[in-house]
Symmetry: D2
Subunit: 340 residues, 4 copies
């Protein structure tokens, strides 16, 4: 069975497991105060060229989104996101559970643009009844987006500008950030994110870790952030588990290196599928391909290859997501291309 359903189907990069083994019986303090967390933070700050950043490790993406958003919004504010944003549609109402509205705006291939946000805010403040409404309090992006698309540096800068104008922090969900940074043609780097975002996270779960996301606040975390992390249940007693993984991932460029593998294999697959005449539902430069398959073909593939359901295309066709990852081997791509 060729498994391409998602990018979290394997365990962790072997260097992580190796390091877990080596350090297993060291006795370290809990709750993120251990030396591995400290070392990982230092390395992440260096990679972001932002020595004064605050870095916190949280075990998963939905949790990170809910914690970051709830800790940065005021009571009267909601979070602005693309209507297709993960926080709007695929987190079981985790944001609303903390009392905040997600304000879904129109998108282009999963991306929010600065003009859309500016227009939304301008209309809001021009409405004389806006004190009876939810204030736009923060902008949420993901990079890559739900559709695997990427922002350019200029787009991030423009979004940053509108956020500054309306005093909203800019939050970038980087659950798949590695794959965004490693994509061909992108001009966005970690230091760019640290420059234009008020908070972002570097995804581990989908990029080589067993679990864990590294939240970076370039200008410092909100007061009492740790207590809020605890209040939302996310403060692991053995914080070392998260710190150590990021320490390994940010040693000797491992994070970049393994992220690149997902891109290389995705590119090979894309080329192969294009050559075979497959229809791409949209163009995605990262590790997720969205392909329109005849339903009959999908039925025939059952038991042989596994993709992720994306959406119905028409009565006879379905859009499927094929994901590569840090762990995908080129021979798996070859086998898949043979099969298709």
């Amino acid at each position: 069975m060729l498994y391409f359903e998602n990018d979290y189907c394997e365990g962790a990069h072997p260097a992580i497991l190796q390091k877990l083994m080596e350090t297993n019986f060291e006795k370290v303090p809990g709750y993120g105060t251990d030396p591995y967390c400290a070392s990982a933070k230092e390395k992440i700050c260096a990679a972001c060229r932002c020595p004064e950043a605050d870095v916190t490790f949280i075990s998963g993406g939905t949790q990170t989104n809910a914690i970051v958003i709830a800790s940065m919004l005021h009571r009267w504010e909601g979070v602005v996101a693309a209507a297709t944003g993960h926080v709007n549609g695929h987190e079981a109402g985790a944001i609303e559970f903390t009392g905040h509205k997600v304000m879904g705006l129109p998108h282009k291939n999963g991306k929010l643009d600065a003009a859309t946000v500016r227009n939304f805010c301008a209309t809001f403040y021009a409405d004389s009844n806006h004190d009876h409404m939810v204030f736009p309090g923060m902008v949420y992006l993901s990079h890559p987006t739900e559709y695997g698309t990427l922002y350019t540096k200029a787009e991030l800068e423009a979004l940053h500008a509108v956020c500054q104008e309306y005093k909203m922090p800019l939050f970038v969900d980087g659950a798949r950030l590695g794959y965004g940074l490693a994509a061909d043609g992108t001009d966005v780097t970690l230091p760019d994110l640290a420059k234009w975002a008020d908070v972002f996270y570097i995804g581990g779960t989908k990029v080589g870790a067993l679990c864990g996301e590294a939240v970076v606040f370039p200008h410092g975390a909100p007061a009492h952030f740790m207590t809020m992390v605890k209040q939302q249940g996310a403060l692991l007693a053995k914080g070392r588990l998260l710190g150590l993984q990021f320490d390994v991932l940010f040693t000797d460029g491992l994070y970049e290196k393994i992220s690149r593998n997902a891109i290389t294999t995705a590119n090979a697959l894309k080329k192969g599928l294009a050559a075979k005449g497959y229809q791409f539902f949209m163009d995605s430069p990262t590790n997720q391909l969205f392909i329109v398959f005849p339903n009959e073909q999908l039925a025939a593939l059952e038991g042989k290859a596994k993709f992720g359901f994306w959406e119905k295309y028409d009565d006879a066709h379905t859009v499927m997501r094929i994901a590569t990852s840090w762990a995908t081997k080129m021979e798996e791509i070859e086998q898949l291309l043979e099969l298709l």
Copy 2:
């Protein structure tokens, strides 16, 4: 100054004040257990032809929406509403504050239709990831809608059917219900609402009361509803204030009679404006007219007539809402028409 900004600018129908005076020194028990609440409930049940209904009085509309919705949804559910619904845009996030998502769907003149809701639910349940999403748990309508439009009996029945199909209670916000029931050409009556809705409320604040909405649960209220009302801060110690007002409004058809006045005056105004060639932004059969004015004319009207801002039409024009009410006098209409 001719004041047509909204339908809550006056106090209460004089019969209410009269009754408050007469009964002022009677000593009655608190928290809605007094004889006026009991009498009002009985009269409302009779008017709804629904003797077994549960009726609760709450002081305002936003509070009622937040209480009803939060008491009927499960934790994993959100409320489906027209994107223009009051709960989605104009209640400062009161629903999200209770932990629930408002799922805004496309509308036609403020109305939600059964096919849109069915399609939304069918797509939701067809998505194999729906356990990671917010479940549609309730449908919210208002009658009249934000745009003063009305559902037909057939439309309500169709919405009821889709709600039954997907096991969602149907909730009708009747903040301006009197004006809906009294409109020309409507075929929807109170007993119809009691038949097709699982919960609805009869607006008092905008229809002759100082404050108060009567929430009707035709099939009985949720368990411990009173404790939830208290928990959301809405249980008035002097519940008599709300009960007595509805007791008066539901005596000798007063609610209907005064609601009709808003329609008669709105109709006269509509006729007059049409004759003068004014542009109607949309056709609204109830007590709110939406008229496109040149900005210059609005400037000239300042200090002479007051309308409600609705939205910008274009750079030179603005849509304004002109509202009549139970208290509007025909001579005010005449004066306004002279002025325009």
Copy 3:
């Protein structure tokens, strides 16, 4: 039937109803922006000798407590209160519903003392794990307390000092404030409250109004307080109803005058009961008496006099609360004393 069950069994002071009648057809703007609210605020500021105070009107006590507390606490903070405080035991979890812990401390006759609060805070901050705990973020008192007892000026000053020391606002629930201010022997005045509290409210519901509490922030309200009031469902469209009542109550010392009536009648009753040898469960200087009755006597009184159940005293006796109010007549006291 002699009704002494509570102090909210009558309607409103007749001057309020009179004013409602007189102003009924004036057309005024909504949501608390009307001239009656403005006038009432001005009069309350004057009475508090605090011209720069912010005043907001909210319809009931539980709602006011929930709104004030939730608007002033940070996410990581709870509210410190006497274990017997209304917010801790009798509001159906309204505070917790907004996400905050009520931290109940030991009390003396319903009163919290400064040393208890200081000790609690000192212990909290001395605990090296306090970042894993709920921070004490505000102190809640009621004046009079649940037991009708009163703070002295010196006690309030001491509580203010500990609040300053630990950067906690001091909140005084004045649901029955009039009766506290009018009590014999108290040295606490409205300007004292404005001096020592960061926020307090002047109860209307139990002191002559149909509904309504006036929240006073001597140093200004929290940012966006009005939007938070709306978000918790408490912004009445016809704000005039609340403003007008307080405007009347704060005209010509009416609030003081009618508050004093409750004290005069309570004192007469107290004297009479003492003369007859009744056992006082505790000494309360305001409008509530707590008397230990043999259960047999209570059975005999049924249908003749109505008191409020307070608590079981022993198998043969029950503590009952007898409440007077602004509306109690001296002849009712005489009749009750005859009966007992």
Copy 4:
């Protein structure tokens, strides 16, 4: 440095790391639907002799408490706990953040007894105002308690009985359950917990895992539990990480075996300290010892041994917690005894 500060200072049992290595590149589905979760569930059901139990894995204790409690309480209910319970004091208000009150009752050495709970509930329901109060909706225990003490089977049975009587589920927090089950003299087994509790969890984080708690619902989980877990941010994409660890821990009695190690080492330490005349703050039969130290001695120990601060005893003495774990070696005990 001899490190005895807590029982989560090491990594995981080597067999877990070994298995992580072996299975690392297997591609398995996400969100707890993998074969390791399935296998672990089966083994846990067998160990509990409760084949129909529902088992869910969650990464940490506070999160588990918040999720279980919020998923089982109704809106109008709170959770009854010992005042010293972890949920009441040490989780930064995580329960209140979900909208529920923690009702702290008096305890004996950290234990809640059935009579206290019954009396609390009886008083609650006897109060005619209880609809204005938070209903007791669930009972929370921990086994071992915060003080390392244990319930007997008879005590659990009695608590179960009062829970049944008042229709409250009984929840047992087993963050250190292994150490409770392995203690000398206990008569409580896993099948007993499955019999008397409605939900409990088997702690992994403190008993040999990197992270993870196994929540067991002997009579089935609440409807849509998985969606609620997601909504609270706790659904790990790589659920295999949790499942695999419990699969290893419940293979060949590993969980019991390693739990016993903590007891054996704690017992040796206890014996040694008693022989040396140390003062025990309380008697704890599990892996935590609470010892009263002179402050001078603690100062002298700095840099040589690390214990956990428990509380101030008097001006010259401090209570310290010394914790052993699954990983403590007997020679560390010997070294510590030599030092003390």
